[in-house]
């Protein structure tokens, strides 16, 4: 690498294009299409937006001729570079299901050799930020990583400031500090060229350029300094993540929801928003099935939907709050930086001109936070981005049904055999994604870990779970996993154990019970409290009866509604222990069930003296990728699939049970 800047005369711009192409790259750069500057594949630099700029304002973007022979006098293009690193639609898997046999194969990640020309400082930061998000979790997003790694980045320092720019506030620009392979500063007669990496040097060295004169470098510096001055500091960010998280109940959320169309444009033009959904397709025979990853948005109602048609963010207010707090606050907890780079696209491309700078000022004004901090993490002590796991979860491993046992009329346990070492190393509380080609892919908790396989207990609530519960011996499914963080059994060693289950919630608790029973002497008193809607909805009845017969365990059951055949207790599960004669301060509690049951249980346990850091629960969310890259399962600062699904109440803080998060 060379520290010296070079100078590329304007007349030689074509030679630069040729050098990029000679490096075996397709060149993606700005060009004018349909009255806008978009990023597209270029066949020469004659297609650059020479003599054009764009005036932007809330809800407005207009191209304007400058009359100048300059190619980069605009700020950011309509489309962000994520179109190329995180494409709108990519194939994920191809599967076949014939005669019960199932094979699902991931589609290989693509990594076209592209050169991105015209990347601004804010966009460079965005590429870095999105990349960090897509590398986090146990697997990361292979396609995103491959595409990003293959691209050569030619950055351009801004020479103008648009009305929607605020990179200065977000600390991302306008100066290009590092991260680009090549950096250009456009002057009237040519370009000051800086080299950032060896790959950049390879290209620039072919051009045989003279060093830039001091006056040229100085002119470039003056130009970008003027841009910084023009933008000012529109969004004071000091303490912003904390100010925002303390403003979750601000009335302004409802006001902005009156204007917000929830149309998702802000998220789709955002260069860091990465949320996606999985679309499933199949042929008419139901034999061939494919899945695709498509851009999605937290502004769409379907994004917050979970099994059984419940929805965590029904109101536009909740969706706007999710987006803004994620971008400016919880992104810090997840990835150690802001999720906003100040490019201003969300302002310009909002069809009704909602200005995120104004909303931030109104909702989280500079100064002291306005309310209590809802969860304990803060940017300073935020979790480090999760490292790639040493042993990766199994990806699309075929497992065979060895036994089917109907626990209730609508709930079946599938005994699956596999020799996959990752699956066999599943921990109590972890889950797997279960795929049958052509069907939506549900996350299912492991309900028993066997030496040669896993049990999954599945309640039929929709077509996917209906077909899974209808499988017979010899049929196959494709599994990804084990995923997520399991129950922290070690935390309960030497302590009393309280386990509270509601309905199907007993399934993820069963491997925990198995583990405790197998290692019984290491724990104090062990108490199981089981609730079900009716006697017929009780799970694992024979097993629970057997446990109840033991002298070293206490098992109590209750049902919401009983028939004449039920001689046991009737009511809600908390009635089993709200006056029980045990000391909660010595207990570690584990619970799973419907969210309302867990809220009630949490409060009863607190009254009984069980502390928040000793109360563990597993959350249900809409998990689509299972590894923290699709964004569906976010809850405040957490990805439930990756950081959970098991959490302590202390970790969740008031995010637990809060409406609309």
């Amino acid at each position: 690498m060379s520290a010296t800047s070079r100078f590329l005369p304007r007349a030689d711009l074509d030679r630069f294009f040729t050098a990029l192409a000679a490096d075996g790259r397709r060149v993606i750069g700005p060009t004018v299409v349909d009255g806008s500057i978009v990023h597209d594949e270029l066949s020469s630099f004659a297609e650059l937006p020479n003599g054009w700029t764009a005036d932007t304002a809330p809800g407005s973007y207009r191209l304007r001729a400058t009359g100048l022979d300059r190619a980069f006098d605009y700020n950011v293009g309509v489309t962000s570079w994520k179109r190329f690193t995180h494409p709108p639609i990519i194939p994920l898997t191809r599967g076949r299901r014939e005669g019960g046999h199932v094979v699902v194969e991931p589609v290989e990640a693509e990594s076209p050799r592209l050169a991105f020309v015209g990347v601004r400082a804010c966009e460079l930061a965005a590429l870095r930020i999105q990349d960090r998000a897509m590398r986090a979790g146990p697997l990361g997003d292979a396609d995103h990583i491959a595409r990003g790694d293959a691209a050569l980045v030619v950055a351009v320092e801004c020479a103008t400031a648009a009305g929607t720019c605020f990179c200065t506030s977000m600390g991302t620009g306008p100066e290009v500090e590092d991260g680009a392979d090549i950096v250009l500063s456009e002057l009237d007669d040519g370009f000051v060229v800086r080299i950032g990496t060896d790959a950049g040097a390879d290209v620039v060295d072919r051009l045989d350029l003279r060093p830039a004169a001091p006056v040229e470098s100085e002119r470039a510096a003056t130009q970008v300094a003027a841009v910084r001055a023009a933008i000012g500091d529109p969004v004071p960010t000091d303490g912003l993540p904390t100010r925002l998280r303390a403003a979750l109940d601000h009335p302004r959320w409802a006001e902005v929801a009156e204007r917000c169309l929830a149309c998702a444009n802000c998220t789709l033009v955002c260069p860091t928003c990465f949320c996606t959904s999985v679309a499933v397709a199949s042929d008419l025979d139901g034999v061939e099935g494919t899945t695709e990853r498509t851009w999605d948005s937290c502004f769409s109602l379907g994004f917050g939907r979970v099994a059984g048609d419940a929805n965590f963010r029904p109101k536009v207010r909740d969706r706007y709050r999710q987006w803004l707090t994620h971008k400016f606050s919880t992104w810090w907890d997840q990835f150690g930086s802001s999720g906003c780079v100040g490019c201003g696209r969300c302002i310009a491309w909002c069809p009704v001109g909602i200005d995120v700078r104004e909303e931030l000022k109104a909702i989280a004004p500079p100064g002291a936070p306005s309310g209590p901090i809802p969860w304990p993490l803060s940017p300073a002590e935020g979790r480090a981005p999760a490292a790639l796991a040493a042993v990766a979860p199994a990806s699309h491993v075929t497992a065979t049904v060895q036994g089917v046992h109907f626990e209730t009329a609508d709930t079946a346990s599938l005994q699956l055999s596999t020799d996959d070492p990752a699956l066999l190393a599943a921990l109590p509380g972890q889950f797997v994604m279960v795929e049958l080609p052509g069907f939506a892919i549900p996350p299912i908790s492991v309900s028993r870990i066997l030496p040669d396989g896993l049990n999954l207990t599945i309640r039929s609530v929709g077509p996917s779970t209906a077909v899974l519960t209808g499988l017979t011996n010899g049929a196959q499914v494709s599994l990804r996993g084990p995923l997520g963080r399991g129950w922290p059994i070690e935390a309960a060693v030497g302590r009393d154990v309280v386990i509270v289950a509601g309905g199907i919630g007993l399934a993820p608790l069963r491997p925990l019970i198995d583990a405790i029973v197998a290692d019984r002497p290491r724990f104090g008193a062990v108490r199981l409290y089981l609730g079900a809607r009716t006697p017929r909805d009780r799970l694992f009845v024979a097993e629970m009866n057997a446990l109840a017969g033991r002298t070293d365990l206490e098992v109590s059951e209750i049902v919401d509604r009983a028939g004449p055949e039920w001689l046991g207790k009737v009511g809600i599960v908390t009635q089993l222990f709200d006056h029980a004669p045990w000391d909660g301060t010595r207990a570690t509690a584990f619970m799973c069930g419907p969210e309302r049951m867990m809220t009630a249980t949490a409060s009863t346990l607190e009254h009984r003296g069980v502390t928040a850091d000793n109360t563990w629960l597993t959350l249900e969310r809409n998990m689509a990728c299972g590894v923290g890259t699709c964004g569906h399962c976010q809850l405040g600062p957490f990805f439930v699939c990756r950081d959970g699904p098991v959490f302590s109440l202390a970790e969740l803080g008031s995010a637990f049970g809060r409406e609309g998060l």
Binding site: S60, C260, L284, W295, V467
Partner: protein
Amino acid sequence: MTAPLPVEHEHQSSRAAAHQRPRIGVVKFASCDGCQLTLLDLEDELLAIAEKVDVVEFAEATSRRSGGPFDVLFVEGSISAPEQVEEITRLRAVTKVLVTIGACATAGGIQAIRNWFDHEEIRHAVYPEPRYVESLAMSRPVADFVAVDAELRGCPISPAQLREFLIALVTGRRPQLPDEAVCLECKRRGVVCVAVARGIPCLGPVTKTGCGAICPAYGRGCYGCFGPRESANTASLAAWLSDGRNASDVSRLFTGFTAWSEPFRKIIDAHGGPPRSVPAPTETPDA
């Protein structure tokens, strides 16, 4: 007893198999038949689909007739005449899954613009001899009269959504029919927003996706033929569009194929009803 059609005699075995296949019907009320034709436009898959289902009623495609029962009945058209009310009620009683298709069946159609006008005045404007025509004062969606299990939107419906619905039907999974805004489709396709970049009024943000963003891709604003999406914030969009436009111009933007849908209707009502600049009946010089 009516003799079975000869063609069915010749195919006893396929008839037996047909009992296992879902019985499908396609019927229409006040509409142009365009949505039914979308079924026939599924040329590549049509034969394969026909093997999976038993089409017992589809006037556009077959001379077979059936009064029911139907496992799935696709209903095109709005309810616009008194006998249609009776007929849809009868059909509902013999149908397991009733699916409305198209803007007429799901929202009342373009003909629902008459709902804002005097019925007699409209009848005289359209028909030279209105006494021969029985019609209701309003053109209304099927769901105003009977329970609807699923709907396919659009004018006409999207072949892709119809294909998805049919495949899901025969393979037993849930059809994926997103209720998101057209904007997502524009952005995925890389279509530059016509509203923001060119100031063209566009209903995309409040309209349900499914068309593939055809109009914006050709530089036009969306005119909402798929009707309102979930959480359609038409009030905010109308307020934004009111800048530089009079009430009648704002109302006109919403007065289209799905004007009678509630989120669009309330904007039209708030802006003085549909624009009144309906062309006057052509003057024919007296002989």
